[in-house]
Assembly symmetry: C2
Homo-oligomer: 373 residues x 2
């Protein structure tokens, strides 16, 4: 724990944007209202998303088509007053580019055709040729164009992202989702040497991938450590956080003279918040189990915080959604110089969410957060 650092004094160059609240909050600069975006905001809860996915034929068909990926990225921005766009893609594109063959069966999670479970499969891993991920960078460029007005001023910033080295490794070893992480943890406990080698390759691949997204136009970079929270204390630091740091240490902090904030989100990582805040990132994403007031005490405002409403709140009535959003904003508390809060859910939005709930959420964030300044 540390005391609150002073607000940044050196001028931070931000890109030309009609709405730069998100970037300002990431960098702990004052904002008129709390910015908000939602993990998986371009997703199945929107009928227009489902229609576009049907045109594409499959999730990967959609993700690999830059025009359609741009279309679904823009859809939530047309409906809601969101403060950031996030690239439509998947956290697992990097291992797909490594040749593992990513697919999504209807109604199921991701699956890899090839798995990485033995010495030979580990030895064969390498940082993939970024040309295999060109569809991602093309999507980034297309979205940035779409977000820009005639003078090159963006509507809102665009966030690029990847899965964390550990989260990628979970899927690469398990071959898909898991409820006990038995295979990946067996490899980790039995052959830590092999696990470290997978994670080192993943970290370097993720760093190159995010840097190439930044060069293509991503204005912030987020690392999703979706499965960091399944690790034991000790193992988390060694097998997840150490490699997230390895990514962060290689990431561009500036591009075209503009600061690129780095966000780390570890689902279930609340117990390690202090250590995550020391990873070198600008923003720590939190799930709904963490109290934001306490998170702010722990981090002493040395990072901005992103989160953390339970996505299931969106199944309640509008007045109840409003109340819960206000409670989350209030738990962060009054804004003081050098603090930063980006409102988000604590996990991706559910496909069953009523789209009207998102309007209530977004409008309440903007409206109520003005009273906390």
């Amino acid at each position: 724990m540390s005391t609150a650092p002073a607000a940044p004094t050196a001028p931070i160059a931000l890109p030309p944007l009609a709405n730069d609240r998100f970037l300002r909050a990431c960098l702990r600069l004052p904002t008129d209202a709390t910015p908000v975006w939602l993990m998986r905001q371009a997703g199945r809860y929107l009928p227009e998303y489902r229609a576009t996915r049907d045109v594409a034929g499959s999730f990967m068909g959609l993700a690999t088509n830059p025009e359609l990926a741009c279309e679904v990225t823009m859809q939530p921005l047309r409906r809601y007053d969101l403060d950031a766009a996030i690239l439509f893609s998947d956290i697992l594109t990097v291992p797909d580019a490594m040749g593992l063959g990513l697919s999504f069966a209807a109604g199921e999670g991701p699956k890899f055709a090839k798995v990485v479970r033995d010495e030979a499969a580990v030895a064969a891993l390498a940082v993939p040729d970024m040309d295999k991920l060109r569809y991602v960078f093309d999507a980034v460029r297309t979205i940035r164009r779409e977000l820009s007005d005639a003078n090159g001023v963006g509507k809102v910033p665009l966030i690029g992202f990847s899965g964390s080295p550990w989260t990628l490794a979970c899927y690469m070893v398990e071959g898909g989702g898991s409820d006990d992480y038995r295979l990946v943890k067996t490899l980790m406990y039995q052959r830590p040497d092999l696990m470290h080698r997978i994670l080192a390759v993943n970290a370097d691949a993720v760093a190159l991938y995010l840097n190439t997204q930044i060069e293509a136009g991503a204005q912030a970079a987020m690392i999703f450590d979706s499965w960091g929270g399944v690790l034991a204390d000790g193992a988390f630091q060694q097998f997840s956080l150490a490699y997230t740091k390895r990514v962060l240490s290689q990431l561009k902090r500036e591009h075209d003279g503009h600061r690129i904030p780095h966000i780390v989100f570890t689902k279930g990582g609340g117990l390690w918040l202090d250590e995550i805040a020391d990873s070198g990132c600008d923003v720590v994403g939190l799930d709904w189990t963490m109290n934001l007031c306490r998170a702010r005490q722990i981090t002493g405002d040395r990072v901005a915080l992103q989160g953390n409403l339970d996505p299931n709140v969106l199944f309640a009535q509008p007045e109840q959604v409003r109340e819960q959003v206000i409670q989350t904003l209030d738990s962060f508390g009054r804004h003081t110089p050098g603090c930063g809060h980006i409102f988000n859910l604590g996990h991706g939005i559910s496909q069953f969410t009523p789209p009207e709930s998102v309007s209530v959420l977004v409008d309440t964030v903007h409206e109520h957060s003005r009273t906390l300044r």
Copy 2:
């Protein structure tokens, strides 16, 4: 956080046992070595368990047959030098007795034939007649007889248990396992009045159930809040912990003149450890995400701690299992007056565990923990 309380000074009456390490550790009395038992120690990883279950025909067939339930309870004690027996049963027997119809399809989790999702279903809930759970109390009596020598001295104590009010509610509303808890959380956020009514009935039912287990011979009572950790901060306190406390406040602390320790285990509850330690329980169970040294600092030894090895460690080689067990014991640290540690896994043992790994675990706990006194 609080400073370490003094060791209990008033004499605490313990039942006659050949091995009372477990009860002593629960009550923070000195022990010669750290006691150990494993959640789900009577389970599918043991070939003799699978043989007995085949005789019973099904999981519920096994759980409802006191002789066979006793047999599987005793099986791990024959193989390993465990310091406690735990009743073979399920956390969901109470809602089954409420008439919801519990079953386990082969290879799947629990399922309820009836679900509780509307006003009428909630209104119909009531504390069940304990006669419907007689098979459990008969099993407790049978096991206690089996554990006793000719002089009525038990080999090790017997732990009774139940799911927590919130965890029962999750299954009662969802009808089975869930990966997003959407239905139960929708009810909770939309109709908190109905959720409170379910939880109140569950709490009173669980308290009566555990007290009847204690009267039948259970020498410690454990509440499994397996799904407390899926709740948002704030909701956890209101919908899980408040009702765990309602159970605890009604539980017998003595039976036949002997102290009955109460254990609360909240999977994923590390962030709320300080509050759980104030619930009135004697022991807090921890999953593997919590560092035991830190847990001890947070609780100031005002409760005993139980845990917390990742069950996946048991898939490693014997020398690696040994190392990880030693690391866990060392993270708890040196034993000082008034502290208590019961070694356990951070969750139930996996059905795929090699039985030999459990021998290494148990023997290492006893051997290494002597050096920490």
